[in-house]
């Protein structure tokens, strides 16, 4: 049972893959955009931070589910 719980928590944390890919793509595009239009840097970084926060939320949900699995299934 213990092993299964650990495996389940590990699988829940796999959501981090999606957030990592998403934030990576967003940052790549943002650097491109800043290189093309350096004067729009303020707006671009504001939007980038917002997008990163929204994308990162999925990873955080996976982390919380992992914690809940560990604490409540024991």
């Amino acid at each position: 049972m213990e092993t299964l719980i650990a495996i389940g928590a590990g699988i829940a944390v796999l959501t981090g893959i999606g957030a990592g890919i998403g934030i990576g793509l967003a940052t790549a595009k943002a650097t491109e955009a800043i290189a093309r239009q350096p004067e729009a840097e303020g707006k671009i970084s504001k939007t980038l931070i917002l997008g990163c926060a929204l994308a990162e939320a999925t990873a955080i949900y996976g982390f919380i589910i992992g914690l809940l699995i560990i604490f409540f299934l024991q």
Partner: protein, 219 residues
């Protein structure tokens, strides 16, 4: 793992147990109130001091930031948003600065903040456009999306609450694990990232998203 729990510090006769996060919140509140009383004394129009200049720069930055999102006509909401920004900035970075556990690591604190944000978001929409328009906007493009729009009222604060709580708890857990593995020197630069940078970023994101949702609601 016992660091993860919020201990009860003392028990009041009627209300019950007062948890650690409440006490740390009281300390932060007291410090912020005292600072805001002390720092605004002796403000002058001519020949301002260094403290006044720093204060004006900080408040001016925050006001410009919210003005960019909400517009000039919604200045009434700025004091609340700046207060939440200050409180979250103080409480997220309190772990390395003062040694307390951050109160935002407790789900109850972030849930209360998110409920306050939810009330503010809906209130701003009702105040701007009237109750009728607010009730109607749930069926806005097509009536089919009404369940999703109603769900969004709850999901927005839920995601605000979970984002802040999850980030702070994750940073806290990583720092605790690192402190047990390597107690010397290594936690210092990592603490700068997880406690100070991430804490300030999450405070910024929390008020930014609240203001953005309010703006969306007021359209």
């Amino acid at each position: 793992m016992e660091e993860l729990n919020c201990e009860t510090v003392f028990t009041l006769p009627v209300i019950g147990g007062i948890s650690e996060s409440v006490v740390v919140t009281w300390i932060i509140m007291a410090v912020l109130v005292l600072l805001s009383v002390i720092l605004v004394r002796n403000l002058r129009v001519e020949n301002p001091g260094k403290v006044q200049l720093a204060l004006e720069a900080a408040i001016g930055w925050a006001q410009d930031f919210f003005e960019g999102i909400l517009g000039k006509e919604n200045r009434r909401y700025f004091p609340y948003l700046i207060t939440v920004l200050l409180f979250l900035g103080a409480s997220n970075t309190i772990a390395p600065l003062c040694g307390f556990k951050p109160p935002t690591k407790d789900l109850n604190v972030t849930a209360a903040l998110a409920v306050m944000s939810m009330c503010l978001i809906e209130y701003s929409g009702i105040r701007k456009n009237g109750l009728k328009h607010w009730a109607k906007h749930f069926a806005q493009p097509v009536p089919v999306v009404a369940p999703i729009m109603i769900l969004e009222v709850v999901i927005r604060p839920l995601s605000l609450c979970m984002r802040l709580f999850g980030n702070m708890l994750a940073g806290f857990v990583v720092m605790e694990l690192l402190k047990t593995v390597v107690p010397v020197l290594v936690p210092i630069p990592v603490s700068f990232y997880f406690d100070i940078f991430d804490g300030l970023l999450q405070a910024y994101v929390f008020v930014f998203l609240t203001a953005l949702f309010m703006n969306e609601e007021m359209e």
